[in-house]
Each structure stands twice: as structure tokens, then as C-alpha cells.
């Protein structure tokens, strides 16, 4: 029998991984939600502007990666409290 701590951990991690999987499968669609950087006269042209790469897409993705476990465990704790 798994003890309670381990159960919570496994449950939490499985939800987190599910979220990651959804992100992975919808990666292209998510990328198109972000607008491409502008290229104009006198404006900086680097890789992102030249190849039309969304500048802050990966930053946003990174924070989703970081915050998902926190949100999942917070939600789990609230649900468990509510059930009690």
C-alpha cells in the first residue's frame, strides 16, 4: 500500500505531466497565439524579427512550466480540504 504522502505526490505529478503533454501537443497552435515582432525603419533586426519568431513565446512557456506544479499542488490541497 502506498502511503498518503506518496499518493499525493504521484497524483500531483501525473496532473502536471498531463498539462505538459497538452502543451507539447498544442505547441504549434500556442505559438501562433503570439504575434511576430515588427520590422520597421530604424528598428532593431535580430533573429526573432528576421525569421518572424515570437519574441516572448518561450518566456511564457517557461513560466507555465514553472507555475504548473505550484498551481496543481495548491488546487489539490484545496480539493482535499473541501472533501474533508
Amino acid at each position: 500500500m502506498l502511503n498518503n504522502k506518496l499518493k499525493i505526490l504521484i497524483e500531483g505529478i501525473s496532473y502536471v505531466l498531463t498539462v505538459y503533454l497538452i502543451i507539447l501537443l498544442t505547441f504549434r497552435q500556442l505559438r501562433f497565439l503570439f504575434s511576430h515582432p515588427k520590422v520597421g525603419e530604424g528598428e532593431i533586426v535580430g533573429y526573432a524579427q528576421y525569421f518572424g519568431y515570437p519574441m516572448y513565446f518561450e518566456t511564457a512557456l517557461f513560466f507555465v512550466f514553472i507555475f504548473t506544479p505550484i498551481i496543481v499542488f495548491f488546487a489539490l490541497s484545496k480539493i482535499r480540504k473541501y472533501r474533508k
Binding site: K5, I44, G46, Y47, Y50, Y53, M55, F62, F74
Partner: protein
Amino acid sequence: MFLPETILAFVFLLIVNLKDCFFSCVNYLNLSFDSQIPLTWDFTVLNNMLPYKDIYFPYGLLFYFKNTSLYISLIYFFLPILLFFSVYIVFKTIFKSRIITFIAFVSFCLFIYKYTGIENFTRYGIILSFTLLISHFFYKLRIISFKSAFLFGILVGGIFSLVNDQGIYSLLLLIFLLITVPVLRGLKKMHYVKYLLSRLIACGLGLVLGLLPLFVFLNVNNMTNEFYLFIKHLSDFPLYAKTPFIPFSTTIDNLFAFASLFIAIVVLSYKIFFSRTKLSFISILEISLIFILVMLEQKSVIRSIDKQITFIAFILYVIMFSELIKNKVSNLIIYSYFAIIYVFILLGIGLHPFINYKLSFDGNLVRSFFSTNMENFLVKKSKLCLSNNLNRLTEEKNTKLEKVKNIIEEDSKKPTKIFDYLSDPAFYILFNQKPPYYFTIFEATPLYAQKSNVKYIEENKVKYVIYNEDIVRLQDGVPTQIRNKFLFSYVLKNFEILSKVDNFIIYKKI
């Protein structure tokens, strides 16, 4: 308090650092774009050019003057020892057992020497040490006093004065901990707002005091405005340096850091939301290290610095392991864990080192160290190391750099001025010429930087422009005529092709 083996380890570190810092030259392994840049800075500091004012230098006064200023070179010498010491103290606190502390500490030292490189550790280790120190205080002092917050502010100001980016990270961490730790400790809302505001004010006052030496330096050298512009233009960095992260994020180094972050966040989230225990020292350490790694990863998302920051992930793993073994784990498991780490480090399995140089011991430097005064010795050493690197590197590339130089000298028949089109700044050292403020392709991207380079060409009456056709590959595939449209058009309008040597096109003033 300190055990014989620990004292021995520090004496050993001191000797190694003395050899590396004063008796050895940093010899770059190749004449790549990345190696030419630090060599050019070594050249500019020897030519009394100042950072912020005369040359673009993003790493702070400590790294610019480390080889020429007496006081700064002494700080640079003792800094790594201090950084290692802070790691040792934390290991001693969390492990309790002297043998395990020693084993963990040696594994960390090996990791630094094998993968991180002492130069990189001296830079990013500052924020690591600050994290360890401040976590200790936030744990020990349940409420951070006004005086402590003021002292932290001074420390942050001092760090910012010497190494700008580390100072910014330190400040953000300090603010983050001031905000979060009282919340996690359940401080009442009424007290919290008052507490937070007063501590932030104290930090701000301390920060101003800590920044005083920098302001004095800027004022004495009449470059306050240039420093302000330097800080203002830092926000342009993501715009010109951003490269895709996702395709390159699957490196073993990045995954190593990512995995440590993921595990630490999961463990911490569990502890905060499900465990009723008080906020421990390890938890505060984990919170701080997660915050630091998240901030550093933001830079990595723009332009990968995955190899530079693996040692912070390494510390995070060791700290998490220390929590795991708190609950009576057999010594066999502990020793096996560190044995595996030792094997991985010593055999160099997995991660990639961030070391593109070799430290070469020079007996002449030892003699010189004891026979001349320190300031003369530093200048002598800098010149010797620069010339060693240049001789070795131009030999390696003699078919290219020397040929270009010879063609220009034959054509001009007298000393002349050149402009390297932002890819091979070693040419400025070869021609013994002060480089422009923005001498690399990335920093020279914004329009103000292009205009500054055109001004340099005009003011110095530059006769020759050296253009490396590989420049597009050196950077990120963006054609020069797009990235530097203004500068490139200027060169095409005012210069014509004189000759072509390998991948170099030499333009001559019309």
C-alpha cells in the same frame, strides 16, 4: 570550529588560485569570435580605455580591471575562495556529519574545476553565495530588522558596483524574499504591509550607500551619462540577441538544470501546501535557489547560457539530497550517491564543460611576482599573456589574419586605420589601434550603435574595412545587410573592394 581536513582543503584552494590567478596565463584554445572579444578587452584596458565610456563592456568593473588594478585584482583573487567558503558553510550546516560535508564539498569543487571553470564561477558564484548567505539570515532572523535590511542593501550596491548583472539578481532576490518569507511564515496582513515597506526603504537607503563607490568612480572619470546610457540600452539585448530556445533546450546541460528546477518546485509545493512543518533552512534555500535559477533561465531563453549555470542546479540537487537523508538513510546510500557523482565528474560523463581556455603556468611570472611591485607585475603579466595568446593564435590563423594585415600595409605604405566589420576584433590588436565602442556584431545592431560605428570610421579617417564573409554564420543567420543596414550601406557607398583573402574582403576608401 574548522576541521584539519577543511583547513587543508582551503589552503589547497588558495595555492591553486594563486597559481591560476597570478602565475598562469589564460590561453584561449582557438581564435574564435568568443575568444577574440576578451582578448580585445585585455588590449583596451592596457590602453587605458574605460568601460562604459570608451568601450562596451557588460560584465562590470571587477572583470574589466581584474588584471590591471591592484585592489580589484586582490578582490578577484580572494573572491573564489570566499565563494567556495560560503558553499562549505552551508554544506556543514545541512549535513552535520563532517565526513559527508567534506565529501560533498570536494564534489562541488571538482564540479567547478571540471565543468564550470573558475572564471565563470567567480561571476555567477556571486549570486549563488549571496543566495546562501541571505537564506541563512532569513532563516535565523525570523523578522529581518531595519538594520539588517539596510546592510543587505549596502551589500547589493557593492555587488552591483563591481559586477552589474549579479547586483541586479541579488536585488531581485532580496526583494523576493522580503515579500514571500513573511507570507509563508504567516505574518498578519496589517503588520506585513508596514514591515515590507519599512524594509524596502531600508534596502533602498543601503543600496544608495553601496552604490557610492561606483558613483564616485563614474564622476571622477566623467562618465555618469555614458553609464546611464549603458543601463538604458541593456533592455535592447533581447531584441538583437534572441535566438530560438526550444530546439536547443534539449541539451544535457539544460535538462540537468530543468530537472533540478522541476523536482525542487514539486517538492517545495508539496511541503508548502501539504506539510504542516515550519519553514526550514533547507526550504528557504530551495526557494532562493529556484528563484535564482528561474531568473538565470530567462537569460538562457534569450541566448543559451546552459553550461554556465549547471553548478547552481548541482547545489540544488545536493541540498535536496540532504533533506532526503535527514530521515535516517544508511551511510551506504549516502556514500554511493557521492561515489556516483565523483565518477561522473572525474570521467566527464554527461555535462559539457564551459571552458574554452587552458591555464598555462609560467615560471617567469613567479620570478616577476617576487621581484617587482604588484602594479608593475600586473601590467607586465597582462601584456605577456595578451602577446602569448596573439602570437599563438595568429600562427594558427596566419594564412588569414597575417595576410590581410600584409595586404593593407603594402597598399597603404604607412601606418593606417582599419575598421573590422564586427567579427574579428583581434585586428585592432594587430594594428595596435583603439577599437570602436561597439566592436561586436550583436551590440552593434541597434541604429544608435551603427551610427556610433559610422562616426568612428569618419573621425578616425579609416582607410580600410575588413569584412569576414563568415559573419552570418558567426551570429545567427541574419544577413549583415539586414542586421546592420545603415552601417553596411555606408561602407558600400564609401569604400570599394581592394582584395579578397580566404573569407576576408578588404574594402578601401574611395
